[in-house]
Amino acid sequence: MTGVSAVASEVRAAFDDRLAHADEAGATALALGLLRSGVAAEDILLGLIASAQAAVGARWVTTEWSVAQEHAATHVSERVVAAVAAAATASRPRGSAPARRVLFACVEGERHTLPARIAAEVLRLRGFDVTFLGANVLAPHLLSHLHLQGPDLVGLSCMIPSRLPAAHHLVECGRRAGAPVLAGGSGFGPGGVWAHKLGADLYAPDPAAAADMLALRWPRPPEEAAPLEHLADEEYFRIVRQRAELLRRLRAHVLERYPWLSEPGARHAEAVMEDLNRLPDAVAAANYVDDPWVLTDYLSFAAQFLPARGVPTAVLGSALATLSEPLRGLPRTAAYLEAGRCWLTAEGHGPHTPDDQAGPAAGPG
């Protein structure tokens, strides 16, 4: 990441303070002041806002901040990005060839617009002609823009691996319309391993690297990618069809084991249930890209998220067990669930950890 050192730690602390108070005016004034004092806009976007926002996310995971605080801070960050982008001018020399057109989108179900927004602005500052389509872009939406604008490149942001099947739709959509696809975001896995699996032409760990790669060599016009052969066993489609039933069983199991979650006004109950509801999607996505890492990635997040909200990690092992019954007869899926169980045991979140507060009447433990 470039520019982290370009923003002094006391500036960063002041910015964090503005975010904590949802002080949009203060945060904007601080960032624009940096810009006027000569700090590059890209360094402000990546070195200040993006890294401050990462800290915001971490505070939310540990419940140091409420959802409302996190959301208000994110809103302020978005506004500051807009203000910095509006004030900074692209470094493109006048009279050079027309700018390459880039269509930038967050995959369907993806709500984290800020990283994609920052990436779009960095590419704009590097001289690309960028159109940002925002969060939760569905294939028909992308398609109509592809036909309307004929971009040279489609940028896709995916922060959660559970959304990889949706990302694949958009990758195919862009490539079939003749635009190579640049993938970015932690949802594409370590080193972008799943981006390549889904046929993306390019993966970049951060927007500055993406701009550098594009300056070096523009990707060739895409050719039809090979289909994902492992999907021929239809396991993925069977999981998706059963989603409602899986969620129902999961919910019943969790509420039986931790009855306090269904009490009115229980703190964090909603966030806990929402997080656990993502488990079937993680299993489905692991199946889709044929990699148990998608599931363990979810588990490693949940193993931080749940204990901070009063639910022991032992719930994860028993949740996996709850899913294996309705998903029996799916050998690949069984292997992923087993890999998930092994990961939990290896990380010390096994089914019999002493912190399990389940009562004696609770279900299988």
């Binding site: 506004r79 617009t113 960028v130 940002f132 109509s144 036909h147 309307l148 003749g178």
Partner: protein
Amino acid sequence: MTDARARRPAPHGGGQARDRPGRKLPDALLDLVDQAVVVCDASGVVSWCNGPAAVCFPGLRPGMTPDPEVAGPLGQAVAASAARFDVEFLGRWLTGRRSTVRDCSVWLVSDDTEMHGCAVELRAERRRVAFLSEAGRRLGASLHHGRTARSVVELAVPALADAALLVLSPRGGHVDWHRCAAPGAAVEAGALPAATLERVPRLAKALSGLSPRPAPCRPGDLAALGGAAPPAAGPGGECFVTALPGGGAPAGALVLVRASGAGDRSAADSAVVREFAFRAGLALSTAGLYAQQAHTAAVLQSGLDPAPLPEVPGVRLGAAYRPAPEALGFGGDFYQVEPARDGGGGVRFTLGDVCGKGVEAAVLSGHVRQSLRTLALVESRPLRVLDVLNRSLLEADSGRFASLVMGAARPAGRGALDVVLAGGGHPPPLVLRRDGAVEAVDVGGMLVGALPGAEFGQAAVRLARDELILLYSDGVTEARGGPTGAEEYGAERLAHDLAGCAGMPAGAVAERIELRVAEWLAGRAHDDIAVLALQSSPSSPASSSSPALPSRSGSSGTGTPGVPR
């Protein structure tokens, strides 16, 4: 099977006529086989050959050493001690194989000219089919005119030519061109004044549709194109212009330049060029039509999209808008906020929902918004405004009606905000108090445009500092989703989620509510969704929240999802 007769020696020709007296029976029999048989003794000298050998190697006689001069590939194989060869010699495709019998090398040589010709033709045909299918795939991939034009020249080089220039039909006084100057070169593009074509009769003729066949270009014919001209073909090369037939007039003209002897063009005969020109022309004219219609739709839509929120001292605003996904950005929900005109500060605002969705609802919502804007100039009493709007909608006789809440918010000192509301048939706005309590404000009233003489309601509410009022359309409360996928999000869940927003700026509240609904929907279909939040802004006037919508260029705004362009 190939026809053996053609490859046999003439009955009385050849070195060893089979009816020569004294010729042994085995020799005569070996003259009957299709293959040439050449026997070399241990010292490498040809000791015997049959009749067909004289056809393949006319100069070869027993007693000679098979040198490459006379025996071609056979001689080379002998010199190199190779056991087989497969090569063209004197216009025939020869395949030879060596066997050893006692001390002698026996060469069996087949004349595979016909088979080889078929294989070459088959490969060429496969290349033609592959090229045309690739062309079909890429030309059909995008409806964007510029991208299609680029694909045309990218496809033409190197498959059809060493350089290609596509000149599109004149539009608005200029002609666009796309060029690939050499295999592997990037595609360049530009525009020329349409008048240039008068000095390039070859192109003008092709673009007018008067020249349906490819016409050769002489050097200098294209000189008037200046910087757009393709590279010269050079001596021995060729250059020709093909019209790309579109719907009616040609969609463009394609100049193909081939250097002499460069590359294998067996797949690039005139039938392929004609077929490619046909597909390219069709794709270009379809893309042109699409661009026209898309432009029309975009212009109309820009008039129907919610306008950016104004910056007004003392009031902080936030909004979110998500049309039903299948309508490509057209929706029947609307909101608008304008600075108050009466000099008292604050804003006037409206949020409404025209029944139905898609472009039909969007057109009527445009009508309603325009009427409200006009009425605001002559009438400040909201109940009167609603009355006139009701009559206007009934007279339009569209069979459509609307629900809406309109009102004004005015700073009342000490960070308070006085809000007056009027409306009909709309879900009650919610007030978020400082302690997190949520109150519904019952405005009442009947639907607008449904019945003559309908009556409308009014309400007033005071917001203290940090308190907020939320207006929303029924797309929010009626969003079906949740664990079962069939449950409505509902007023209760909305109130609960709003309570969790205490202390947040209006922009973040609007986004958060929209996000909660989207999470509830989890990707399911939904009706149009509109949310508008108002609160008093903290002391600093600069902090009022500006537009919550991405601009047309997508360069600013908070990227409210679902809003196209």
